[in-house]
């Protein structure tokens, strides 16, 4: 049971990465901050363009399709849909480059 050759998970199974499923409250706070930063960029663009009475397809489409941080449910902020996962959800940190990409909407019902 004890000693150098005890059968731990990593010794018997090789590589073992323990990545917590949930984000900590600080990680969640930073995630919300990043979401709001993107919202503020879009809001700045929108304000500047409407002042000159121009519309841009990219901005209009974003406003139409994407919820702002305050409108999102916590489930969508911190996890994403994945058809291969149990209960169809996995932590958002499994998304490659998750701190630098926008992933806001998931399939309805999941």
């Amino acid at each position: 049971m004890f000693g150098a050759f005890r059968p731990t998970n990593s010794l018997s199974g090789g590589l073992l990465w323990k990545i917590p499923w949930r984000l900590s409250k600080f990680q969640k706070q930073r995630q919300r901050k990043r979401l709001r930063a993107v919202d503020s960029v879009v809001a700045t663009l929108d304000k500047a363009l409407t002042k000159m009475s121009i519309t841009t397809r990219a901005v209009e489409r974003w406003k139409e399709e994407m919820p702002v941080e305050q409108e999102m449910v916590p489930k969508d902020k911190y996890s994403i849909f994945d058809r291969k996962e149990k209960k169809y959800r996995k932590s958002i940190r499994k998304l490659p480059k998750w701190t630098r990409v926008s992933q806001r909407v998931n399939p309805p019902g999941y």
Partner: protein, 86 residues
């Protein structure tokens, strides 16, 4: 005539080639680099491609490189601190 003041706050390393190309086209070569562009739909579309990586402000006039440098320069001289009452 108003301008977008665009500062790259997150690096584009590891992002798709298209995203890195937009950063290059905007002239944002490294983090905290600041560029000014007039408010046009074209620039707005470019910013939308890299919106996660930049911070944007709308300003009335584009600053030159020297003015940007002067903005970061700390004030000359010194001031005396007084002891806080205990």
């Amino acid at each position: 005539m108003s301008f977008f003041r665009i500062t790259l706050t997150r690096s584009g390393i590891g992002m798709p080639k298209r995203t890195q190309g937009v950063l290059k086209a905007l002239g944002l070569r490294h983090r905290m680099a600041t560029v000014f562009y007039p408010v046009t739909p074209e620039v707005a579309g470019q910013i939308m491609r890299v919106k996660e990586l930049v911070t944007v402000q709308e300003v009335d006039k584009a600053l030159t490189k020297e003015e940007l440098r002067a903005e970061r320069r700390p004030e000359a001289g010194f001031y005396l601190e007084t002891a806080a009452p205990r």
